[in-house]
Symmetry: C2
Subunit: 177 residues, 2 copies
DNA sequence: GGATCGCCTTGAATGACATTCAACAGACAA
DNA sequence: TTGTCTGTTGAATGTCATTCAAGGCGATCC
């Protein structure tokens, strides 16, 4: 069990780095958060980060996993049943991490790890959205197309600021047959 | 007129740098094209670039202007009248420069110049799209919303690879009342 | 209890990058 | 000829992600 204790310490330290990165990446941005700054926030030397992560992108993936898992938990507990409102909630929730969204898209080419995470994220999100649209009563032959349009539109809403009212109208239109 | 000759020389050299940047940014990507590489391609020393442009982002803006102006000229001469096909053409055309599209989005925060260009681009594009959608017979109270959905969807199509057939179906759906 | 092993940490490189600086060349004007 | 303005450049500067080599320290074995 000694090995397990070691593993636990290791996991804890890793989590501390992820926690620091989470705040910094979301508030300051990924590009503007240097490994030095991240290390300082986590209370270690810059190169210590590389003992726990292969590179900076892998830190980002860990942050994304943590953030996605939290967001998903919140989504599953939503009391709202109206499809348009659920869509709107997701947009608002994602807006908090809109910096990460745009970072992920900009690093797709450069990092295989980010690319994999992104694909997995889209698969899961589209699956959920598909159910939402079926529930909203869309004809089945258009579900696939409308799912993709909805995902892309939501990404657009995140990248381009807009009033809450406009966002609501757009979400409503997305689930209208 | 001596001053004018000078200005012309200056404009020509600037254009040579833009031409080199255009190829490199599109084929290699903005981030992966260092000022050194760009300078080598243009046949000058790296710091000479800074005599003609304030910074790397300003080179990008010049490339975007050139590319947009060419694309717009092609669009205006399109023989196709079907709204969905015109949309599809735009997506295919923009795909050639999809790297630039994602670079612009990732640099919105960092560069005011890019931000301005992006806003201008959206204003113009949405204007054209609005006309297209009106032409396709959409009810006027939904035009605004559908315009935004269409723009965002087209951006999504650029960022996420997909078969031509799927893209066609999505473009068709966008202009369907 | 002392030697050994492997996990962890770090100071100090390395190489790439965008950008700036100071010096210098050549054309034109006085 | 002298001086000024436009261009050009080699050589910094400071920042970044990442790597390397050296060592500390706790657990394990004798």
């Amino acid at each position: 069990m000694a090995q397990t204790k070691r593993d636990q310490d290791r996991a804890e330290k890793r989590d501390e780095i992820i926690a620091a990165a989470r705040t910094l990446f979301i508030e300051t941005g990924y590009e503007d958060t240097s490994i030095s700054r991240l290390a300082a926030a986590a209370g270690v030397a810059p190169n210590t980060i590389y003992w726990y992560f292969k590179d900076k992108d892998e830190v980002l993936v860990a942050v994304l996993d943590a953030e996605f898992s939290d967001g998903m938990a919140e989504y599953l507990q939503l009391p709202v049943t109206d499809a348009a409102e659920r869509l709107f909630w997701v947009v608002q929730r994602l807006e908090r991490v809109s910096r990460l969204v745009s970072t992920v898209h900009s690093r797709l080419e450069a990092s295989e790890a980010i690319n994999l995470w992104h694909e997995r994220f889209h698969t899961i999100s589209e699956g959920i959205l598909r159910v939402s649209l079926q529930h909203a009563g869309l004809s089945s032959d258009r579900i696939e197309t409308r799912t993709k349009i909805s995902v892309f539109t939501m990404e657009g809403l995140l990248a381009h600021p807009m009033s809450e009212a406009d966002k609501r109208i757009i979400c409503r239109e997305l689930v209208t047959a």
